[in-house]
Amino acid sequence: MSALPLFPVTTVGSWPRPPALLRAQRLKRLGRMSAEEFNRLADEAVLEALRLQEEAGVDVVTDGEQRRDNFYSFVSEKLDGVRLMTLAEMLDVVEDKAGFERILRTLDAPAYSISTATCVGKVRRRKPLALDDLRFLKRHSTKAIKVTLPGPYLLTRSMYLPPLSSEAYPTKEDLGEDVVQVLWEEVQALAQEGVDFIQLDEPVLTELVFSQGQTRTFMCAALAARKDPAEELEFALALLNRVVKGISGVRIGLHVCRGNWSQKEETLLSGSYHPLSPYLKQMQVQQLVLEYATQRAGDLVSFPDKELGLGVVNPRLERVETIDDIRRAVERALETYPADKLWLNPDCGFGTFSNRPVSQPEIAARKLANISAVARLLREQG
């Protein structure tokens, strides 16, 4: 990898999967397609996602999370003690059933079609989470590579379902210990393999501060929150800093957003990053990848020692943001951040949940191309 230019352009991870791959995912789940056959289709999809990113001028590429069903439940295939459960199965065991039904209505999806990872025993890293994906990308791209991983708080919180998890772990804090270990091992392995950027996703942090105790996503529905948000945020902070402890030679980023499961903006959370900022400041990461293209994110918050992965396009909007729109957004951010600390990216992934993508590949590619165009303009201006 050569040195990155100013205003590096990247994505937040996911890319819409082609219909053939979605069908294959279902067949694989039902045991009607072999892992080899699935991988062949997934390889093709990754290469296509890669091609579109490279053509759009992206500097740091991802594999579009094509092999994953969504950004976190895929860990069930790689870890001992974790089982994939559909939301239909979870309906029987979640505490807040009415809240859960509201969430399902917002998703406009059947409960059987969305799966989540649940802890049912001692959690161990049986297989690497993303190392093979990284190796595949390295064989097919000369660009710098970003790998996304679910953050430790998200994993701990979403996987802990008391009726199924409490035999292995009396509390979710106990589960957190092993989640940290698994992610720490993975981060070490990715760093040794020469990944350029590891992005940890912690989308539910916003839920702790903006939802007034109302559960808003199924990632948090399993375990009704009884704790003070501040206590949960301290817990999240401690977990994350342990995952990245002692890592060097790789850029670590943290992505926090307000939900990406619906194109209906009004169903997503809103509020500024301010209430999270004391915690985000203490997270031992170089970069915060934050959404700012949506009004719901409020004003730009300053994090003096960190890079900002500035969200400049809304992945859920069909309208492609113009070069002028994006440029204005970057210029505003330059009032707070020095140029060498600014990265440019969309607010979130384009296909966070495989069967509920928020965009189409053509639109996503055009958005990325406009971001790249702005980056080039700004670099030329010097």
Partner: protein, 149 residues
């Protein structure tokens, strides 16, 4: 079999719920309607709407079997809106009636079959459904299906 009747008995003792005896089965039914999410029984209205959703989902499954169309999953979601729930409580001066005004059902189907095939099953399901035929005459019914990959 052009004469079929459905014979059942509902008994209430002291307080709710009612016990319904049907063939060799029994089930409990709570109040006609209740507004408390924590109410411990399934209301009569909920039973009726649950039956309608299950009738459509189950009917579609049966149609798929009849025509040997592979279907992996079917799930129906239903929303029923009453004309004026306050009339159930007997609030003085309220207009309207406590009956259902609008019922919307969306059925999610996962099937490798072609869309036209699923469409045929859907039409047949609605034509053959006892509860759809009945509800149609009384309520504004909005029925739709979505194919989910």
């Amino acid at each position: 079999m052009n004469e079929y009747t459905c014979d059942l008995r509902a008994a209430v003792q002291d307080s709710e719920p009612a016990t319904v005896y049907i063939r060799k089965h029994r089930f409990s039914v709570g109040a006609p309607l209740h507004f408390d999410q924590e109410y411990p029984y399934i209301t009569a209205l909920e039973h009726a709407l649950g039956a309608l959703a299950a009738d459509i989902a189950g009917g579609l499954q049966a149609a798929a079997r009849r025509h040997r169309v592979p279907v992996d999953h079917i799930e129906a979601v239903l929303t029923g809106r009453l004309n004026n729930p306050l009339t159930y409580l007997g609030v003085v001066g309220e207009e309207g009636h406590p009956g259902l005004e609008r019922v919307a059902v969306t059925v999610y189907v996962s099937s490798p079959a072609a869309q036209e095939e699923v469409q045929r099953l859907w039409i047949e399901t609605l034509q053959r459904s006892p509860l759809v035929s009945t509800f149609r005459k009384a309520v504004h019914l909005e029925l739709s299906y979505q194919i989910v990959l």
